[in-house]
Amino acid sequence: MTWLTWRQHRLEALGAALLVFPTLVAIAGFFIVAQPLLRQVNAACPGDSCGAALQSFSDRFGTLRTALEAILIGLPVLPGLFVGAPLLAREFEQGTDQLVWSQGITRRRWLFVKLGLLIAVTVVIASLLAIAGRVWFETNPSGNSSQWAEFDVQGPAFAAYVFFSLALGVAAGALIRRTVPAMAATLVGFVGARLAILFLARPNFLPQQQWDVSTILVGQADAWTIGDQRHFDVTGHPLSDTQWQAAVNTCSQIQGDWGSCLRDHGAVLLQAYQPGDRFWLFQSFEAAIFIVLGIAMIWLTAWLVGRRS
């Protein structure tokens, strides 16, 4: 089975190597080459020349960073498209399911050995990239961006996306039984699940906190700000735009504490956020969700393969 799995997937293995190896090298190179400029930035910040130092850093590495981020965002769907979706669909299309399932091992064993090997290899590769993603984030000059902006390209969440993608592709192939439609379904399903979790679930993994923007101008370090700043009255009810504008107009003419002036006029400006120290907790929530989804896909596949209809 190991030989058969290798024989049937060596092209995908080559493709993965051609994509992943340069990415790892690029990140490692970035990490090494960026150190001198990074030291300059760290020396200048915070300070008067901080802005200029950050600017020269992003002039030099901005394009590379954008490209790497795009690659790391896009990579996890590929195992689903090119390994997962064809895994069963191509066998069904070519009739070779009848060939391989009438050899001397059960179809369940065939499926689990094959899936086990492919999942093991892809998760190992994904973990390397997830670690590289973290290293890459830490090479960012502080103050340039929050770790939350690179949430999706590092850590256990990234590895879980890869696992889910593969499992989703296999299930789509088992259900649809044709390669190209299964690939399309995998793409739609993967992007849909990622966006749904990103926009609907992740901001609410734990209750959001609010800070009073009008009194604390500089936000909490490494916090994830969610949505726009919104104005309320002091009892926490939404404030109409006209009332808010009236308070702002009044206070703008006043010297001194702008925040307490607004508060005196019954207005508060709040920003919803998730604190920075929840980052790894949220990573593990996100990873758990995609691991559970992936296991559900494998369970569905095993059922479809086992029912013999």
Partner: protein, 299 residues
């Protein structure tokens, strides 16, 4: 008689309807059985049920006494299967497809498989896609035989092959069976070449078993009667008519020989297997099963 495949009340329903219904049959061990019937008769379904690729909707099927779905490992180890259209991993080389067989089958016989293909002049390092249809069929057969099966199931193994490749395939098959004494079930809708190869026949029609028996007996117990034109009902009284062809002056009837003597003014002709099969396929309501054939035997 040792039984290789036994089906009782076997039925399989797809979304489109019943492919096989209330099917009872026994395939004798050590013989080459032909499974014959029009397209859509349920031949492929029956073979897939026997190898456990499908699960029966109703009834039961057993292979050497084991259910292919509840004891797959026992059945799979003993059954070689060449599916319809002889699918292979077309980008594998011949060597690699044998490697697959060796990997997945505990009783694999590499020496015999390689020897068989070399004797046929099939290069082992060639990609399967680059082989002719006849050579691909031989590779499929070698793969199925390499696991040293006790039962070999072949679904339309010679379809889409040219006449020479057909003959080579079937003669290879007959040689192997003669040497190893394994049981073979061969489905086909082409009857002509079966008589030379097979010794047992099952006709499936509309998802049911219509005829089952030894080919020798079937041929011996069916005759073509030529009589002056008459009403078939007259004949039906003392013979079992399978098929009647009426012309202006005479009636030709293919009958299963009954207990009554044939009238002296009728000509009696022997028939070939093909005549018998075509007569039954043309008349789905006629049928002969072993129990009936045995009655004829005993009298």
């Amino acid at each position: 008689m040792n039984v290789a495949i036994q089906a009782t009340g076997l039925g399989k329903r797809y979304r489109s309807g019943w492919a096989l219904r209330d099917c009872c049959l026994q395939i004798p061990a050590g013989r080459i059985s032909a499974l014959v019937g029009p397209n859509g008769a349920g031949k492929t379904t029956l073979l897939r049920l026997a190898v456990g690729l499908l699960r029966a909707t109703s009834g039961e099927i057993s292979v050497f006494g084991w259910s292919p779905t509840t004891n797959p490992i026992l059945v799979l180890a003993r059954v070689g299967f060449v599916p319809q259209d002889r699918p292979l991993y077309r980008n594998f080389t011949v060597d690699e497809i044998l490697h697959l067989g060796r990997n997945l089958n505990p009783r694999w016989d590499q020496v015999a498989a390689v020897g068989r293909l070399q004797r046929l002049g099939i290069p082992l390092n060639r990609r399967l896609a680059a082989l002719s249809g006849g050579q691909q069929a031989q590779v499929s057969l070698a793969l199925a035989l390499g696991k040293r099966p006790d039962l070999l199931l072949l679904d339309e193994p010679v379809s889409n092959l040219d006449p020479l490749a057909r003959r080579e395939f079937l003669s290879e098959l007959v040689q192997v069976v003669a040497a190893d004494g394994l049981t073979v079930v061969l489905s086909s809708h082409v009857v002509a070449e079966l008589e030379r190869v097979c010794d047992h026949l099952v006709i499936l029609n509309g998802g049911r078993v219509q005829v089952m028996g030894e080919i020798e007996d079937l041929v011996a117990h069916h005759k073509l009667l030529i009589a002056p034109r008459l009403d078939p009902a007259e004949v039906a009284a003392d013979q079992t008519v399978v098929q009647v062809t009426q012309t202006e002056r005479q009636s030709a009837m293919l009958v299963r020989v009954g207990t009554h003597p044939v009238r002296p003014d009728w000509e009696v002709h022997s028939v070939s297997l093909e005549d018998v099969v075509l007569a039954y396929l043309g008349n789905p309501s006629a049928g002969t099963l072993p129990a009936l054939a045995l009655e004829v035997d005993s009298q």
